[in-house]
Assembly symmetry: C2
Homo-oligomer: 381 residues x 2
């Protein structure tokens, strides 16, 4: 091959001094696997080397001197061939490709829990566009077992990756961190010490605030319904509830925590609670909002009006608010802003910025809503 090369060099040179030596077949020559023109094709057409083409098209960041004529010839050739750079090759050589991964341990677009990730995605897309990144959605997650090696390898295609979901496959994540691969979790996660960068929501403060609001309204006996799961989102809300109990001086007996999956919330049970003197129910928000819905339908069945007969607060906000349903009192999880912040952080990590806040907690905003009122009149004042 080098023998052929030697012969070719002078030929090219000759072609060049001919000037605009496009006399050949030019276009017909390209027989690459893809059929698309490469820089080498442009080079041949313009009578220069591939290096020159790269310099011209790459904006010549190294500051190498370039004749304006040559530059134009190359640009013309590129245009006439309809050249489009191959992002893959570029990435192999440069080490980055402007892709942000998005890994959701379950389906990204679930059919049942419709839209649970949607607000995050809105923010992620917005900010990714701002920062000039495209998004890479890993679908393998749904089919393959969680965190399988196969499926996680592909993540490296992206310059960095966002993770969305309750789970943290610690081993794999540790591996990524060790390798210096940039990643950001959406949602607080302290599984790997302080190593996992994340954007969380301040559930604790917001939940405390909700308790305080109920107590301010006169409620003294509150019931807290939570999931039977130890995800940070659950833990934090309970912590906030307990902090609220403490701050308002209520006793544990007056503010019990009940774990439920929603199925066991019957109209009778709800009535029982009210008869026991509970005047407000605080419900954890989840993907499915199954617990709130259960309370709502139990109330309907028991013919209980929500602000009148008892108050209800949601620790979070229904993602999918339907026009028919009342606006629940509680707080808004700033999902969109979290998505944006996550992308900003990730972009910073990729860019190697040093003074990054890798553990961010975003404040939630109170939702006044329609479901908190004063407790109903009872025997005791």
């Amino acid at each position: 091959m080098s023998s052929g090369r030697k012969g070719a060099s002078p030929a090219e040179r000759a072609a060049k001094s001919d000037g605009k030596a496009a006399g050949h077949s030019g276009k017909g020559v390209r027989a690459t696997r893809t059929g698309r023109p490469r820089q080498a094709d442009i080079a041949r057409l313009a009578g220069v080397s591939q290096t020159t083409v790269s310099l011209v098209l790459g904006g010549n960041k190294s500051g190498i001197a370039l004749n304006e004529d040559t530059r134009q010839r190359v640009l013309d050739a590129a245009r006439s061939l309809g050249y489009v750079p191959d992002p893959i090759a570029r990435r192999l050589s440069q080490g980055q490709n402007n892709l942000l991964g998005l890994y959701t341990f379950t389906s990204t677009f679930p059919t049942d829990i419709q839209h649970s990730y949607y607000p995050f995605l809105v923010g992620v897309e917005e900010e990714a566009a701002n920062q000039g990144y495209d998004l890479l959605l890993f679908t393998s997650s749904s089919t393959t077992d969680t965190g399988s090696a196969e499926s996680l390898h592909r993540i490296r295609l992206a310059d960095g990756c966002l993770f969305l979901g309750r789970h943290v496959p610690e081993e794999t994540m540790a591996r990524f961190l060790d390798d210096g691969y940039p990643l950001v979790y959406i949602g607080r996660h302290d599984e790997l010490g302080a190593r996992l960068p994340y954007i969380g929501a301040d559930y604790v403060t917001a939940s405390t605030e909700v308790v305080r609001r109920l107590v301010d309204q006169g409620h003294r006996r509150l019931l807290y319904l939570r999931e039977n799961d130890e995800a940070p989102a659950s833990v934090d809300r309970e912590a906030g509830f307990l902090a609220g109990r403490k701050a308002t001086g209520l006793s544990p007996a007056a503010t019990p925590v009940i774990r439920t999956d929603g199925a066991d919330i019957t109209p009778d049970r709800l009535l029982g609670w009210l008869q026991d003197g509970f005047t407000a129910i605080v419900v954890e928000e989840t993907d499915t909002d199954i617990a709130v819905s259960a309370v709502e339908s139990a109330a309907r069945a028991a013919r209980l009006g929500c602000p009148e007969d008892f108050s209800m607060a949601l620790l979070g906000n229904r993602v999918n608010r339907s026009p028919g349903l009342p606006l629940l009192s509680g707080f808004a999880v700033p999902r969109r802003e979290m998505g944006r912040a996550a992308v900003r952080l990730l972009a910073g990590l990729i860019g190697g910025e040093s003074d990054l806040q890798t553990h961010q907690i975003v404040a939630c905003q109170s939702i006044i809503g329609e479901t908190i009122g004063p407790p109903p009149e009872t025997t005791s004042s």
Copy 2:
């Protein structure tokens, strides 16, 4: 220059004839840009060539003989180094990377028209996962002007691309087609002759069917509200409506087509229509469903009950059905199935299959709903 080359070759050869020269430091050597181990590192550790590593890890599809011992040594070395293949390099060499692009000419996750693309995405994600593809979402679309060269170049990163949206930048698409780049539109598009592969919905038949149902119920004067836009989705529905008019023998005067953006539908106007003897209103479905909503609120304001005072049919289905609202009679656009079909077709195109149906029309299913009833009693029988 070739002199230097010649000198190097023997040097390499010497290094090689030393044989299994892994005696060195092995692990400590890797000082790659990324810090991740490469096949070459494994090779050094296992005392074999990079080729052998590639063969072992690649499953040796070429059927080259391999000693089981060697195989194990390589696998062990790979594991101990924590090797992860670089998808980019793989793609550069293989020519494909298991990525499907998804290009929406507007934001993929809009905030205002919430969820309009969602059902498609569900299907796309499902089938992409089945076929072993990940999804590449191009965000540039929202920021850059439609179809700008810059933003469309990036599409080639994917092995093929789905397009979602009413627009077709013909020039760019023609370019893709000429290059043999695999792409599929979701939605019928005949802009480029029959060159653009697509998955459409059979709006025509479904719309005709809706008209027939109304006529079967006794309606003789129908009003059709459509968008002022010539997108195929609109054109097809109108065609179906007109076909229904023809099939049922109704006159154009009894079945007028009215273009509206929703804003001009007042309670008075609605009442006027009913006084003019129209007993049913057929509405085109759109992203925002602005027209249906307008009719609904006009009816509410005019205190008209829907199946009682007039019938209403939607040519399509509300994507975002809220619990409070009645189920509109009409038909279901099989968005999820369209998404799946699009991915299947695209995968076929990428795989170079020959006998592909590149223009597919998927049938819609009737929705009986609650908004069609017999026409109210009037003076004339």
